[in-house]
Symmetry: C2
Subunit: 470 residues, 2 copies
């Protein structure tokens, strides 16, 4: 762990930081450096210079100006639930944490918008929306600890993208401090604003490399009514796609997820939840929709039956209560946590939906042929073309050796991604983990332009350097 | 009109252009220079050097490289239906027209996406979608002649934004040629792609100042079912807002438009359409929704009745057929064409919805006090906070003098826009018309950053120079 903070050379900077935020909001103790110097990837050893906890946009601006003057790299720190190392501080950087900027304010029931400081927890916003009779639809497993600023910086996706889109779609305005120390108010909550380039869009998904998000105007919407889910057992992947097309053509689905029998078995064993039905099927699809009235229910049942008749669906169950709905969702949502005990190597890849079956088959053939001893757990968001490929570590394999072997698999997987015109990072971002593979999804010209765009907003190169690209 | 093309100095460039696209696809005749050197603003005298009609991305790329070498300014030319002068070529520029790049291809029923060359007409895409049993929801008065490339470059809005968003929301991929001559394929139709900055977003709404859009992957969706509209007569603007809130809280509206009695009178006189009902009211709201079943209809009627009881609604009518729906829509959609005979001075301004009543009142008081002889026609998209303020030219006032006086009004109107944190261009873009007022909606720092971003993509400054900013 870093001992930089106690070195004499950093003392004046620490003193200046303390002058900005107060002595109790600059931390150099080992626990804080460790906790705030890494994210969920755990692959890099945290070694920040210090962790600073501003409480206002003005304090953030003063910190950035100081960092710029001192050529001190900044790593923005939200809930640190990222899976690509975007929030890792392993090079003596200054971590700027938004833990104390967690106020929600200025709710307007007509605009259905609300101001969130960057450190507002996703679940906090979801609950706040509920209290207003509204809904914040972006949801994922880490909603209990991820922060809005981080969600925006990584354009977080999750389980409801099919109907409600990514975080990008819910950002009506952004207050940011650029790497140059400018405080910008981008779009200010307007639904329609074609007055010049929409710079807000650049900061969404930029992983903190252009500046720091300090506040966001988030859009809320009406809550869904009577959400209802099917879990359907399917013979093969073509069946899942047929099923998706049949339902999608007739109904407004709110989610369409899938997982494999292996995934289900592990979740059932881990959670004690009942299987959705007796029969074991190679794959399962979870479909969700709003059961607005009896007509919709009848329509859904008729579609289900037609899919059984076609031979696409082997068995199925529909939730009849909120409790059943939640239990069916847990079969899908608990996968990530359940398999974490096997030290999974995660891939978050996508292609256009129509190419998913061939894409999945090619990836599976590759991994099975090259690494027959690795167990593969598939799950993901079919409705978005986003697959999560999880390779489990065999018990008898050393962790370092396992990851080294998986890195080789990754290159081969990304070759397939490239051939399918897909993305090496569908929703987790690039961070440190994927930056060597960025060119599998983006051309050399695009990467060169990204670097130049970064130069515009962060001329001193202090904003989360080494993330996305070197 | 320009005689530049016949000048000896331009002859070699013309010859090179002819070598790229063929002699018949470079035009220097007066008619083409005139028609393709301006948009619907008609305020600037067209004077392009030549108009070139490429037929492929490669030809566009060759044209841009030639223009860069020759420091020749390029003006992209779509359907030229813009209202801010974005497609005006008044300075000897080379106009690049997409009239011959109008192919739709590669429709995929699973992805519900389709490739459109930049010159595809909006209505062509709408009809194509219908033929596939799908829907392209962006719609506006000029859909019969505007082109997709232009729609994307101006992030076109229109009458269905409340439910389906702006053009931005339907662009799944973009093929562009930057001002540097690079051909970029941005996002390639992926629903989820968090691999680096989303450069696609920058080109949307950039009005051709960063490069030329040559092709787009457009997202389609399921068609709406049984669209049904109310036209409701309202006493005052607070009533319209109350009405909006009441309906919006209970139903998924597909549109919420408004217009004034003056606007209605002019449309009725011009079109011969019947008034929606006998009584004359100061304002009218047009609400649209999907009448999915009897339950929805009953709900809509109950809401209507509660709004009458509250005193917000004075009278109303609901469409009972597609023909009635279309006739009610014409009361709103025909306004622009109808008032064109009065040489209107148009403003396209927005604020957040909750501030619309005060905003509208302040603007109306200003214009009425300063210019009592001017007739004002209000209409717009309440659901998006977007108002169109149209000032009609008195018959006895000279056109030049009228526009000079209106420009003074504009400054005062934009002061109000600024005070309300609104936009000086909600959906028409900045072009030439609004560039002097850009700072009423964007900070000096933002404008400086925009210039630098332009420099990245267009280092020679040849892409639509002088549009958005100087």
């Amino acid at each position: 762990m870093s001992s930089a903070p106690s070195s004499p050379s950093s003392a004046p900077v620490i003193a200046e930081l303390e002058a900005i935020v107060g002595a109790d909001k600059v931390r150099c103790d080992e626990d804080t450096l460790f906790s705030h110097g890494r994210d969920w990837t755990k692959a890099w050893e945290p070694a920040p210079l210090a962790v600073v906890f501003p409480r206002s946009a003005e304090e953030v601006q003063a910190i950035v100006k100081l960092a710029k003057r001192e050529s001190l790299a900044i790593v923005p720190s939200g809930g640190r639930t990222g899976l690509s190392g975007g929030a890792v501080a392993a090079q003596g950087e200054l971590v700027v944490s938004f833990d104390y900027m967690n106020k929600i304010s200025d709710f307007d029931p007509i605009d259905r918008t609300v101001q969130c400081q960057a450190g507002v927890i996703t679940e906090q916003l979801q609950h706040y929306a509920e209290e207003q009779g509204l809904y914040y639809p972006v949801d994922f497993a880490s909603a209990g600890s991820s922060q809005i600023g981080g969600n925006i910086s990584t354009n977080a996706g999750g389980i409801k993208v099919l109907r409600w889109g990514m975080t990008r779609d819910w950002v009506a305005g952004l207050k940011v401090v650029t790497g140059n120390g400018d405080l910008l108010e981008l779009n200010r909550g307007l639904l329609k604003n074609n007055a010049g380039y929409d710079l807000r869009q650049l900061f969404i998904g930029a992983e903190g490399t252009l500046g720091l998000i300090v506040e966001a105007t988030m859009q809320l919407t009406r809550p869904p009514k009577n959400l209802t889910a099917f879990v359907l057992g399917v013979e093969n992947f073509d069946g899942i796609m047929n099923l998706f097309n049949r339902f999608q053509a007739e109904m407004d689905l709110t989610a369409f997820e899938f997982f494999s029998e292996q995934a289900l078995q592990k979740v059932v064993a881990h959670s004690g939840l009942p299987r959705p039905f007796e029969s074991a099927c190679p794959y399962y699809a979870l479909l969700e929709f709003e059961k607005l009235n009896d007509e919709v229910e009848e329509q859904a049942m008729a579609l289900f039956e037609s899919c059984v008749e076609e031979g696409w669906v082997l068995d199925g169950v529909m939730s009849q209560s909120l409790e059943q709905l939640n239990n069916l969702w847990r079969l899908r949502e608990d996968i990530s946590e359940t398999i974490s005990q096997w030290t999974p190597y995660k891939n978050d890849i996508s292609t256009v939906i129509s190419k998913v079956p061939g894409f999945l088959q090619d990836v599976e053939e590759l991994v099975t042929a090259e690494y027959p001893s690795f167990e593969i757990i598939w799950f993901g968001h079919i409705g978005d073309g986003n697959l999560h490929l999880n390779i489990l570590k065999p018990d008898d394999l050393d962790k370092a050796e396992f990851f080294a072997q998986c890195s080789k698999v990754s290159v081969a997987v990304f070759d397939i991604v490239k051939r399918y015109g897909g993305s090496v990072s569908a929703e987790h971002g690039v961070g440190l983990l994927k930056k060597d593979y960025l060119t599998y999804s983006r051309s050399a010209e695009e990467v060169a332009l990204m670097r130049q765009v970064k130069q515009v907003f962060d001329p001193a190169g202090i904003m989360n350097p080494g993330k996305i690209f070197d």
